[in-house]
């Protein structure tokens, strides 16, 4: 199976404090890779390196290599805007923009593609359908994105991310702010989405990782303790720490 993303000896620093240590992680194409581990172990940080969003903060710094299709995205020659179009991100709390449902999804389109009006409309519909939201919002495309429910807002953010036609989706605890029903919908959607995208998801929910992911990486104190097929990690973990964590003895 080809690798979409690959971390090679990735180190990360908040100022002088190191939080990721020599991370090596292969991420397979069109699979869901779950990133699990106790709070503060560097899961989110790892995700935030992939699209270089950490660069918003001046004291954060990454070293090592992170390859996307074999090209190091941490290189200074990479066009960050194009990288972020190619790697979408979904956050823990839904982050709809203060504009209409339609404009939320049309925004990345206007930004990255030159499209006619009808073509934009088509793409917005496709993206909303892709995020299983179309049926619920097709009659209120002009309503504010902030007026939707939490679960709908999160799917709106997913629609916005896939409208830019990325290849990778990073999801940072995408369901931890949602109720079980909305969570179920997002999980179904993720399984559907992996046909088209490579997905990395950070989750605190062991069942979720077991249900939807193909591969799982266990982070502990900034170190990747164990990585492998999800079924193997959950049934037959090699490392004692991994076993303790997935059986709920700490975390």
């Amino acid at each position: 199976m080809p690798l979409k993303l690959e971390a090679r000896n990735l180190n990360f620093f908040y100022g002088s404090q190191q939080v990721l240590f020599d991370n090596c992680l292969p991420v397979e194409e069109k699979k869901i890779t779950a990133v699990i581990g106790p709070s503060g172990c560097g899961k989110s940080t790892f995700l935030r390196v992939c699209n270089r969003i950490f660069e918003l903060y001046r004291d954060q710094r990454a070293e090592g290599e992170l390859l996307l299709d074999g090209v190091n995205v941490l290189s200074s020659e990479i066009d960050v805007l194009e990288l972020r179009r190619n790697i979408g991100m979904i956050f823990q709390k839904p982050t709809p923009f203060p504009m209409s449902v339609f404009d939320n999804v049309a925004y990345p389109l206007k930004l990255h593609f030159k499209l006619s009006r009808s073509e934009t409309h088509n793409r917005v519909e496709q993206a909303l359908r892709g995020a299983s939201l179309w049926e619920e919002v097709k009659d209120k495309l002009k309503a504010s994105g902030l007026a939707l429910s939490g679960g709908q807002q999160q799917r709106l953010c997913i629609a916005r991310a896939i409208a830019a036609e990325p290849e990778v989706l990073l999801m940072d605890e995408p369901t931890s702010a949602l109720d079980p029903l909305a969570t179920g919908k997002i999980e179904e959607l993720m399984v559907e989405l992996k046909k088209r995208f490579t997905i990395m998801v950070v989750t605190h929910n062991m069942q979720q990782a077991a249900r939807i992911s193909d591969a799982t990486a266990f982070f502990y104190k900034g170190i990747i303790i164990e990585y492998g097929a999800t079924t193997r990690i959950f049934t037959n973990p090699v490392n004692r720490k991994t076993e303790e964590y997935i059986t709920g003895r700490f975390g």
């Binding site: 699209n51 969003i53 918003l56 001046r58 805007l81 194009e82 990288l83 972020r84 179009r85 979408g88 991100m89 956050f91 709390k93 982050t95 709809p96 923009f97 203060p98 504009m99 925004y107 990345p108 930004l111 990255h112 902030l146 953010c157 916005r160 991310a161 830019a164």
Partner: protein, 285 residues
């Protein structure tokens, strides 16, 4: 022993509460006395002609405040146009671009100093800078003076309002490949839009009653404010000052009270209206 302690604590609590209440009453009583006196003394001057006619020298019939009202509007509007764009830009710099913490600290400190500066100094400054070289008073000079007073207020409000927009929204915007500039203008400012407009309107309400800077710049004239760019421009604060302190005639004192009532009502309406219109509706973003 325990009971005594409890009693002491309760007593202290009561005393403190009573003092706080008294302080609140005192503060609101001052406002009530001022407003009620302005209403009582001012309402006698009010008539349709008072609002429609321009001011005239003492003794000429049908004198009003229409020219001063119009002049004041031109001066404050001019101030808003001059101050708002650069103040918002400066506020955006303070809130969004923290690459140079020292520059930011200096800017913020000087804004605080400017906010505490007596307005008479600002008036004197503009008088020396604009009125003396030009050889004439003007409404424009008054707008510049008021703009200088508005600038730090609007800048700090902008910074505060943008600072209240959650960081997640900035990250979400950048994460779909948007530039910093577009993120700031299209997403962050848009989120904070209500707060920004409120800040501008409240700053306007604040400067619209400023008198000292106008004495040095706009001065006054018993004419329509056609000379906004090149001559003395009638305005409400100076009209009130002139009529109540520089005139021996009771009719002018009364007109002064009338004008005071009008400006009080207008500023109150702007204040209260702004707060009601843009009452912050909080939605979890």
């Amino acid at each position: 022993m325990k009971k005594k302690k409890l009693f002491k604590r309760k007593l202290a609590n009561h005393i403190f509460r009573i003092f706080s209440l008294l302080a609140v009453l005192l503060a609101s009583a001052a406002m009530l006395v001022i407003v009620s006196h302005v209403i009582r003394a001012g309402c006698k001057a009010l008539s349709p002609g008072f609002f429609l006619n321009p001011s005239k020298p003492y003794g000429v019939p049908d004198s009003g405040i229409a020219n001063a009202l119009l002049g004041s509007m031109m001066i404050t509007l001019g101030a808003a146009l001059l101050a708002t764009p650069p103040a918002i830009c400066a506020g955006i710099y303070l809130a969004e671009f923290r690459d140079h913490p020292k520059v930011t600290a200096v800017l913020r400190f000087s804004a605080n100093v400017m906010m505490g500066m007596p307005s008479v100094l600002v008036g004197l400054f503009v008088y020396i800078l604009m009125v003396v070289p030009a050889g004439h008073f003007s409404g424009l000079a008054a707008s510049v003076a008021l703009a200088i007073i508005m600038f730090p207020v609007v800048m700090r409000t902008t910074e505060d309002m943008l600072g209240m927009v959650p960081y997640a929204l900035r990250e979400a915007s950048l994460a779909i490949g948007m530039t910093r500039t577009r993120t700031t203008l299209k997403i962050i400012c848009r989120s904070a839009r209500k707060g920004l407009i409120t800040g501008i309107l409240l700053a306007l309400a604040r400067v619209s009653g400023e008198t000292a800077p106008l004495l040095f710049t706009a001065l006054f004239a018993d004419s329509w404010p056609g000379d906004y760019l090149s001559g003395p421009t009638p305005n409400m604060p100076v009209l009130i000052t002139e009529y109540s302190t520089n005139s021996p005639f009771a009719a002018m004192h009364q007109a002064g009270w009338g004008a005071a009532l009008v400006i009080t009502v207008l500023v109150l309406a702007l204040n209260i209206g702004t707060r009601i219109l843009f009452r912050e509706k909080r939605h979890a973003p």
